[in-house]
Point group: C2
Chain length 535, copies 2
């Protein structure tokens, strides 16, 4: 694959063309000004060429020169992932720890060459997919004497289609939309749509165990990985393509979630779907949030396996789906390539109504065999727009601090878990960001044994002091989540941001086990140091 001609943005998700315009930023600033009651202007974006970087601490060998570069803008655009703390540093021109070079291997041989160069010279090797990490997963740690960011954007092809098994072999660097574009002519789809979908890659999804489109049953990319190929400094590690197996601990499951510390994922066989043509959806309102979550539990425990089963609390439903701020919105959706979803949606709707969900019969939208989308109008559609319309750059540096944290917890702990989180995080939020700060919750995925709650917070922050305030809230949130029995992340990954929470939640001794595994794959410890385990 040739290198994409378009340049990545250095201060928002995606490419330069994805950057919000000056007008959009001004409009956002105006809205924030109204909310905060004082005049705020968007920060100016520095000229990329004028950003100061330390001198590269290594020389790229000439044999690697065709695909490894120390070019200024390449180093800039590979310094940060997509978290607001990073984008804010970027838009302010702070790049204290850029990679010394960026590699764009175009094939397995080049991937081998660059990783071997790193390994034999103790150069840190940072795997780079789409650059949307929100957990500090791709930064160069200060301890590294030198570092290369290995961007997989030239290894991004669809290699093989298996129509009979509904599977495809794809290279790790393929972006979500490119994958779907390549599959569409074959009538197939992966249907894995993390919020970062336009800018994130298959390799990144696998490395971070990303959560996708399906709110129930097969929620993580894990379920769609049929086999995977990874290059470590010790060589190629390739699992066998199998629909299922019970032979020893699964090698795929060792790679899934390894976040680049064992090797670089180069390609994978993925399980696909036929494109859905039967669809059904429903939005139902609840005046009682807790009752609404009970309805979600009842639906998921009935095992009808809806593709969508989410609930937004009153704050979230007000901001993102146009509700009045007092009611929750439960979103239900079914889809299939082969089978009418009428029975499923009606059965689920009945459960929702039994639990006090408010909707009219005509709110149940069914498109049988037409392929027509049913979840794009009304409240459900409004929510969908706000979800896919994420633009990380638009609100940067406007004196409004926003972030999210997400987890999963068993139902027996719910809703006391929710109350605990709102109490602990809410009090820190009010203390740090003031009484006008907000905390909202939705479920992104649900299981018969528990939900995956996703919290969003927002509030005014003194411009220039975002990091300090963010950290106080984030620390409180991480501590509360783990103390109350949740996981530090359901689908955002661990990275460097969640490492201490993760260490608390994992079994005693797991850290040593992972180090031992890493030592087998990466004896020099060059791969993504500081992620998951200490370097």
């Amino acid at each position: 694959m040739p290198r994409p001609t378009e340049r990545r943005s250095f201060w928002t998700w995606g490419y330069v063309s994805d950057e919000p315009s000056a007008e959009e930023r001004a409009k956002a600033a105006k809205l924030v000004s109204q909310r905060l009651g004082r005049e705020i202007s968007p920060p100016s974006v520095p000229n990329i060429e004028e950003i100061k970087l330390r001198v590269p601490r290594l020389d790229v060998p000439s044999r690697l020169g065709e695909f490894v570069t120390s070019e200024h803008s390449e180093r800039i655009t590979h310094t940060y992932g997509g978290h607001s703390t990073e984008l804010l540093a970027a838009i302010r021109g702070h790049f204290p720890s850029p990679p010394d070079a960026v590699a764009h291997p175009r094939n397995s041989d080049e991937l081998e060459s660059v990783l071997e160069w790193c390994s034999t010279n103790s150069i840190c090797a940072i795997p780079y997919g789409g650059g949307t990490s929100v957990v500090w997963g791709l930064n160069v740690p200060e301890k590294c004497d030198s570092a290369v960011s290995i961007d997989m954007d030239c290894m991004s092809g669809l290699l093989e289609i298996d129509q009979v098994s509904r599977a495809a072999k794809v290279e790790a660097g393929i972006l979500g939309p490119h994958l779907e574009d390549a599959l569409r002519p074959h009538g197939l789809t992966l249907r894995h749509f993390p919020q970062s979908f336009p800018w994130s890659t298959v390799g990144g999804w696998i490395a971070t165990r990303s959560g996708g489109h399906y709110a129930t049953n097969h929620t993580h990319i894990d379920d769609f990985v049929e086999s995977v190929t990874m290059l470590s400094p010790q060589g190629w590690f390739q699992s066998r393509r199998l629909p299922g197996s019970g032979a020893g601990p699964s090698p795929d499951r060792l790679i899934l979630g390894s976040e680049g510390i064992f090797g670089i994922i180069s390609d994978a066989w993925l399980r696909l779907q036929k494109r859905p043509v039967y669809r059904a959806s429903l939005g139902a309102m609840f005046s009682d949030w807790e009752k609404g979550t009970e309805a979600v539990r009842a639906v998921v425990q009935a095992k009808l396996w809806p593709a969508n089963l989410r609930i937004l609390d009153p704050v979230e439903a007000g901001v993102n789906a146009g509700l009045d701020g007092t009611r929750s919105l439960l979103i239900l959706g079914f889809e299939s390539a082969d089978v009418s979803q009428q029975f499923s949606i009606e059965t689920a709707a009945e459960i929702v109504r039994d639990y006090g969900g408010e909707f009219e019969q005509e709110d149940i939208l069914v498109a049988d065999g037409t392929g027509r989308a049913t979840g794009r109008g009304g409240k459900v559609g409004a929510w969908r727009q706000s979800f896919i319309g994420v633009n990380a750059g638009v609100g940067l540096g406007l004196g409004l601090l926003s972030d999210t944290f997400e987890t999963a917890i068993t139902w027996d702990q719910w809703p006391s878990f929710d109350a605990y989180i709102r109490d602990k995080v809410g009090s820190v939020l009010r203390e740090v960001l003031g009484e006008s700060s907000t905390l909202a919750c939705r479920f992104t995925h649900v299981y018969p044994d528990g939900p995956a709650p996703y919290y969003s917070f927002s509030g005014p922050v003194p411009i220039g002091e975002e990091f300090k305030h963010w950290k106080a809230i984030k620390d409180a949130a991480s501590e509360a989540v783990v103390d109350a029995g949740g996981t530090i992340t359901h689908h955002h990954a661990v990275g460097r941001m969640h490492k201490s929470g993760w260490t608390k939640q994992t079994p005693l001794g797991y850290d040593q086990v992972l180090r031992a595994i890493k030592k087998e794959f990466d004896p020099q410890g060059v791969l993504n140091p500081g992620v998951l385990v200490d370097p």
Copy 2:
């Protein structure tokens, strides 16, 4: 838990009361005599007290004396698993490598004590669940200087029920029926029914990634493990109870399939179901086996997630479901605690009919909300009886060699995979067991991307030479399965029997990775040596 009062059988699955009677064995001998055309009598069962054993090679410390014993019959009943090669050796009184002692820890402290004793004295520690391993998973290798079998039968309680999340914490030594008995009053069920169900344990299921009741979607015990606790010589390893997570490589998935080489599973939180009251089933016949398997593919790819979706080839359907030997039998079943299965079965039945499946409309049995079982009559019921009626002891030593091997393969490789297996294994079978030998296939589980075929073979063998002939066939089968792209096991585990095939199918370097993990958990290498990795 007190020690079960009933004694295990030393020559068949389960307890002494499970042993076939002299009459049953005589009847079986008569049937075999008819098939082989010569008079065959069942071998006599030796008196357990008269079986010769080597002297125990260790002294049990007095502090462990309350739950560790070197008693003769205990050592005998813990020498072998449930494979016919083992049972045949047992009924002939050959016990060359018994454990030197057997432990029945009654609590965590005792489990710690015995494992610490083993670890500090380099005594091999062989975890023992229900003793039904069919892959030589619990034997004492010749290389061990001394060995203790650690039987978990006294750690077999239901510890906690979580009705809201539908989960339970159970000790690893609980047997299938005892677990279901304990859950029944709570309206819950695990519904995990491997063929060894009456005699196998939760700990064994987890250690071996056993395959269960559900033919689609959640096929392995893996999907029902919410968290797990394991004791290794380095201490307790306990994962957090979570409905889902994307935080790093899953620690549960490292324990699942570890077959006792990292530690001894002591308890687990399991995801449960409400007992089904809506059921539906159908048996359909196909005159064309390949066409029948295509129907299975179409049904599983429609993602209706039937609980049962199996197909028996003409030989299997003839022997075990009473068909005429020319037609295949497709078995379809749906069940739910909450939702009518009428729509699902009718939709699936239509697909089956489209592919040429033969059945009458009244063959579609639906029991809506009554709890009545629908799969117990007719052809489907006949098959069910033959599946659950397995009695490993009844045909022992009658000059008929029978065994099974099972795998999984993607659909694009099917049916050429089937043809390859039948060719390779069939020719060795005919060579070794003669022209009257049979080879049959069924699918035990199916996935959207491939089936899990299960092969059974049978044929006459000179009494006393079973092992040699069995080995020739088994080696050919293992080689064919792995060479043709399958897994050496879909749900029977690896043990010592499948180790070489497993090594061939797993990624290069995986062996070293597992050794490194084992070294972290078990630095002395005392746990189940020779399983998965070399000692």
